[in-house]
Subunit: 450 residues, 2 copies
Amino acid sequence: MSIEQLARDARLASVSLQSVTNEQKNEALLRIKQVLAERKDDIFKANEKDKQLAEEQVKLGKLSGSLFKRLDICNGDKFDTILSGVSDITSLPDPTKKVTMATKVDTDLSLYRITVPVGVLLTIFEARPEVVVNISCLALKSGNAVILKGGKEATFTNAMLANVIQDALASLPESNPIPKTAVQIVETREDISALLDLDRYVDMVVPRGSNSLVKYIQNNTRIPVLGHADGICSVYLDKDGDVSKATRIAVDAKTNYPAACNAAETLLVHQDLLKSDFFTQVAQALIDAQVTLKCDAASLAHLQKQLPASNKLEPSVEEDYHTEFLDHIIAVKVVADVSEAVEHINDHGSKHTDSIITENAATADYFMTRVDAAGCYWNTSTRFADGFRYGFGAEVGVSTNKTHARGPVGLEGLVIYKYRAYGNGNIAGDYGTGKKQFLHDPIAPSDYHV
Amino acid sequence: MSIEQLARDARLASVSLQSVTNEQKNEALLRIKQVLAERKDDIFKANEKDKQLAEEQVKLGKLSGSLFKRLDICNGDKFDTILSGVSDITSLPDPTKKVTMATKVDTDLSLYRITVPVGVLLTIFEARPEVVVNISCLALKSGNAVILKGGKEATFTNAMLANVIQDALASLPESNPIPKTAVQIVETREDISALLDLDRYVDMVVPRGSNSLVKYIQNNTRIPVLGHADGICSVYLDKDGDVSKATRIAVDAKTNYPAACNAAETLLVHQDLLKSDFFTQVAQALIDAQVTLKCDAASLAHLQKQLPASNKLEPSVEEDYHTEFLDHIIAVKVVADVSEAVEHINDHGSKHTDSIITENAATADYFMTRVDAAGCYWNTSTRFADGFRYGFGAEVGVSTNKTHARGPVGLEGLVIYKYRAYGNGNIAGDYGTGKKQFLHDPIAPSDYHV
């Protein structure tokens, strides 16, 4: 089948999905869970094949041990976690069919704005095969068709999972209109480059993976891309900060999970904190947590004096303040005040999540109002920027976009709206100066007819 | 000044705009209105210069009469309309600082989602110089900085209007932090191509103008584009339609303002309507309104038999169903049923606005659920797709995008949100299995502290 045909099928599936009920979507999700459980052996066999091939790559030094680990879905309770993830998504509220505006334009003309699925999603991800199940379920729950492309290390597992999901959809009762083409998988880079051109059929691309993957996609399509390339988060220690909060948050933000996009990469320090042992305490705690500090001249001079025995202090270069280390490394810079901190963040950050540590409410408000990031935090670790921690139940990813959806994105990020007008033969020519006038009265929810 | 510096200034202005109050924004808007009125003579002189040059172009046949007319802001009450437009925008509610989600993540950790300006807008438009004032005011009211680029025919007028707006902003009292760089203007195509590359500084592009302008921009930037290239709207006459509503709506949708993007370009006709004089009546009304009907074989055969004297009937080609005529021409096609009508629209339409004429509620629902367009109308003319008719007070444009904002876009389309977390030293490492649990309780509006 040609890629164009596959994309067209996805578009047609998305039209069918526009009219399904929440019950029908849940029926499909629970059927997927059931068939996944039934076909566990097939899935494990496919996973074994991928792991065998990957093992050779690890031996040749061509694949990292951590990537290999992420490939494995047979280990421990991993498979059960995948199944319970399906249940979790099933139990979330339906994000579609919500009326977000209702206006009586005239006595016999009602206008409603109602949430609808975006349409066709293209998701591209690396390594972890459970994303096939997770994203398929999020797409279905929000009424979207999805085309998946996984990493080549997981080819057999991804194909088997997609195959099982399609079989589950195909086995739905006839009363359920969700077609199996609601979930499709492609395997090659050429397929992706063809799909990135098909903005007629594909409405949104959701890349999950490395900076280079996301940048490649952003640079090669007119289709809106939901996601983030970089996660350069900062923690700013204000002169009015509490040293115990500062220490706890700096260490958590950097070391709780350094490979995550919401880990801190830059520590900004108010110059006054060099007059006491405030900054030294924070630095010592980071060093104790095995973090290397890449310091500007002022902070380096201070720390080399205060902590002369440490071998975790290095001079920084400008590039460090634009770098997502994803490791036990943090760039440190002394700033004159909160205003310089905000300026640094707006210039160097990736609009992901930034935190201020202060007991001064006015300073916090200054920071949180002016920092242009999806998340602006006060006395809180940047690591909270996550759909589960925000209470969304499930997350599509974290977006650093300035439009549509920003920050951790749950099901709400996969819907848009349409306007529905219910008239009685109303024509524009009847309204205007000396003619009929518009009412523009709000319609109360109890009077909705939609 | 380099374009990069100009874009950087816009970004800095947008940071200042993040913290302004509605009162400060209104103060700026009313000051703009006042200075525009004071400098009316300068503005008219600049407009005269443009008109003189344009007149020569008209004589040489290089500029159309209608474009010339749109250039003129001295004529009749045009200038007063521009001034009252500023007042209208001033009186609209502030779209920013609205809390759209509030969650108690833990007893001492509150999370708010709050609307904020998108940031820096780039708007590109043709001919009508009043767009300078309109878009500047919409941008300021929503807290955005804006960079404007108008058509070259209005160079002097656009520059003068932008200059007057900057002078008005520069004359604000010191207590008002809106800088004059909140509104800037550029003049050349080279400036635009440089700006389309500066996604670091520019957050959204709003092109208003021809199909080719919009397509050029969509194809040449990574920055999100808000707008529409085509307006291919359809009216579908169902077998259960009311002939009087069908006639009124078909004529209004086609002829009320044929150059508008919400004018109908395609008329779809249920085959059963050829068994009575239903379709003939609608066609006759269109012909009486000077509309040429480009008909498929079935409709042409029918009409040539019913209306043999008409010279407004022509055979159609496939391309006609993809064409935005913007004239007294409509493409006509007979379909088997509502399902074929929906399929035709989803394949040929531009996701703008489509209308069904029927007395059958189930058929209407089928159509309005499955047609993938920003506006799905029942017994209503497509011409209602307009920000003023929707009651938005002012409109940025009409979007056929599938993300962010769709349909007529008012001030709400110029805002996004950020998450603000208010903690007490909270760290992610404290939560999890066997540790602290998240509350995820909603916060009541009376308990908001934001």
